[in-house]
Subunit: 509 residues, 2 copies
């Protein structure tokens, strides 16, 4: 039995917990419980699951102090940020509650029997149904909102899929406490074990996705982790869908009029965005294109000042700290100039110095365009906007791309630039910063490889679709159809004979 330990990133101190790594026999038990819990979630129905999600949100907030108390010493993220993150986690469960009440997410469609150019067409009805138990890999950098009580769990439970989370080793106690909160909400509704379970340990995570009962998997993590999980899935006789949110450098372009008009303000916003949460956000802007002109000079000078006087950033764990230092060294070796670095006393756990590095076009070595997870920003100076046409395609596709414009920049050149950014990202941000992802219906958190491994989102209402699959019924008698597909059911928006029909009594949010 391998004991799970917890590490305080502020000191580097490690201590054992009461938790043990999950072995095969415990995994078998968990998988068995999850399979049985799928029936309970299905029987709860759409509105019953909405109630469950509501109860989970309440349970998380009711244990706010205890959860933050567990997370702060495990992550070093600090209580204010963790407080906000817990609010976000609860909001995610409530958003999927609304998605369930609305019911449009099942994509109900009915084609009545009719004559077609190919003869009599049968009655066909389609909707999305749950995949079955799924595996969720918790992220290091969001101990609540992308972990056990995170958006993947909320979306999967909403879909009707029991969740087995592979706990991130950086916050085992937070994971345990989060599952406790969710489990309590399940039990209050009379639910069984297996609706939410946790496995601990890397081998258990890989065994989990190889297990026949597991019907899908989701990860917010690294490309390396994704490759390991995919390799384990490839060992199955029946591959399962795997959704990974992986790596993103999130370029940001400041156009000349923006730099001239509000360079100080952009320096302030950009500094906050790349250093917030220790720069450990998937959407951290890692690469800023700034004009090589007096407006750009003032902006960069303001950035240097902020970085030089910044405090140290506690990184999540030793791996993140080591990777940050290695990437920063590689960026320096590739010819970028470190123009500002915070003064940080050495020896404090996994603390590092926020860093600003600078380079200029033409030429952008690949080492400068890779994600550096942590508080480092590469500023790239350009002379003409046209130079960006060559530079941006060399930046790996990202979750986000941002552009700051100023007066008079409603031009074809800007239009083309935005098109280029949109072709290589999942969200284009105007005159703002990509961090602080809004949790809402229209949100998209995904993008071309390597930002995600497939065409999906892990934030926003459509994130639920990862845990659903289509099923059609042909000429089915009404008694056997799900209620959402019966003729007389009008509580949800549906497509009937190709025409969109709104719900007759639309749900108020």
């Amino acid at each position: 039995m391998n004991v799970v330990s917890t590490v305080d990133p502020r000191t580097g101190g490690r201590r054992p917990t009461d938790l043990i790594e999950t072995d095969d026999s415990r995994l078998a038990e968990i998988a068995d419980q999850a399979s049985r819990a799928a029936r309970w979630l299905s029987d709860l129905g759409r509105l019953g699951r909405a109630g469950l999600l509501d109860a989970i949100a309440d349970a998380l907030e009711a244990r706010r102090g205890r959860l933050i108390g567990a997370a702060d010493p495990e992550t070093g993220l600090g209580r204010p940020r963790l407080d906000q993150e817990l609010t976000r986690a609860a909001a995610q469960f409530r958003m999927f509650r609304d998605v369930l009440r609305d019911g449009g997410y099942v994509e109900a469609a009915i084609d009545h029997a009719t004559d077609t150019p190919l003869g009599r067409g049968p009655d066909v009805r389609r909707m999305l149904v749950p995949l079955g138990p799924v595996a969720v890999f918790g992220a290091s950098n969001f101990p609540f909102a992308f972990s056990v009580a995170g958006g993947d769990t909320a979306a999967a439970l909403a879909a009707g899929c029991p969740v087995v989370v592979k706990a991130h080793p950086s916050h085992p106690l937070t994971s345990h406490a989060s599952a406790g909160a969710i489990g309590a909400a399940v039990r209050d509704l009379g639910g069984p074990d297996g609706v939410i379970e946790i496995v601990y340990g890397q081998q258990a995570g890989l065994a989990l996705v190889r297990h026949p009962a597991i019907r899908g998997a989701a990860l917010t993590g690294s490309i390396g982790a994704a490759r390991a999980i995919q390799a384990a899935i490839d060992e199955r006789p029946d591959p399962i869908p795997f959704y990974g949110e992986l790596s993103s450098v999130n370029p940001l372009v400041v156009l000349p009029a923006a730099a001239a008009g509000r360079g100080d303000q952009i320096a302030e916003g950009l500094f906050a965005s790349f250093t917030g949460s220790g720069g450990q956000l998937c959407t951290k802007p890692g690469l800023a294109f700034v004009p090589a002109d007096p407006g750009g000079d003032r902006l960069v000078e303001a950035l240097r000042g902020r970085v030089a006087s910044a405090g140290g950033a506690v990184l999540l764990n030793q791996n993140v700290r080591d990777a940050f230092l290695a990437r920063a060294a590689a960026i320096e070796r590739a010819g970028a100039h470190v123009s500002a670095r915070a003064q940080v006393p050495s020896g404090d756990g996994f603390t590092v110095a926020p860093t600003l590095v600078e380079t200029s076009l033409p030429g952008l070595p690949a080492e400068l365009t890779e994600e550096c997870f942590g508080p480092l920003l590469v500023v790239v100076r350009y002379h003409e906007v046209a130079e960006l046409d060559a530079a941006l395609p060399a930046v790996p596709p990202s979750l986000t791309a941002s552009v700051h414009t100023g007066p008079g920049e409603e031009t074809a050149e800007v239009s083309r630039l935005v098109e280029l950014l949109g072709a290589r990202s999942g969200r284009v941000v105007f005159d703002g910063y990509p961090t602080g992802v809004r949790v809402s219906w229209a949100q998209h958190h995904g993008g071309p490889w390597p930002s995600t491994n497939t065409v999906h989102t892990s934030v926003g209402a459509t994130a639920i679709r990862r845990f659903l699959r289509p099923l059609a019924w042909q000429d089915a008698p009404a008694w056997i159809l799900p209620e959402e597909l019966r003729d007389e059911f009008t509580d949800i928006p549906r497509r009937v004979d190709g025409r969109f029909e709104p719900a007759v009594q639309p749900v108020r949010h």
Copy 2:
């Protein structure tokens, strides 16, 4: 230069064509043209592309004689079936025309800026945008409807993605003629080369999915072909989405009351379904569970009679013929009894004999549950419906599962059976046959592995989603937004601040 040859499956005779296998330099040219054509398709807009699809449907029908004249000697499918298939191919383009006019497929969603529990939430707008040029692998068994002029091409062009088809080697001349029809419709609208192109040859197909310009791929084919394509995609630095429809045994269950009440009728329908088009349909019922009772005896006796007096079936090519004979032999070796086989004169090209084999529960060797592509049906006799609970989970998941019920079978037992069938298939057919897939909005053609390699459909309105990806705009000025995301645009159904809003002027189909 390798010359492409064509083979008449009725005689086995091979002759060279004027076509040559695609080499790397021609592929580079095609990819370049496709990349430029993406711009033209985008500029056409949603309604412009609807007009293009309409024109393609007309062009296909205008060349009906020529196309069928090419396809009949290459496939041996016969003119009546090919005539119907061409009608289906045109109908597919017209269905996606309707999908484009409706506009709901872009999944437009707008969340206006608002206060949230996490502070001010920015304006976020999301819709689906085209992937870019895509590769489509034509299927052997549908020279029109799942090939160059098939549903994948229709869906991809509708999405705004140029298509490069890897022509199936069984019908190169049909492929060439089909691309000619589509290309003519494109030219009539002033379009460029590269909207539809073809590559010939297996190596060219693999080079195609490795090419950086190709942003997605779709296959209707075998598990082997899918593995080869996936391996080529895995060589890319940037993996692309790959949608495969692969293998399906399509179990069909006849319940006792159905066998007793209409055994003859079921024998007739089942015979037509498993022998139609030489049994070479993805949805061919390959495994029929029939009660071991007098009703079942009469049904099976009627089947034997029909099979014994059937004519030969011309299979599509030598590979299909050889695979059919090998699978039939394996099924016999596994202990099933050949109870009827058509009398077919030997030596006629790739002609084989429709075959009925029988076995009984308990016990169902894996050899009997694998797909046998061609006119062979395995009948499995059962004594109690409860036996099916153990037998059905041993059948690989399929595109479809069918159940025939009779009076008095509205029972919990049947309900559980249907649930079992639904858990392991993509479409459950009641009192009918899975072949003859209706082309309509609600249709689903997909299912758990191995029937498809991911959670998608290749028939029905949502097949378009394979060729789209989500993109979000945050705080974007109106002038830069696509019209579908501007506040005042009401021509399509959208979700605004979480509420579904139908189009103000709904499109009539």
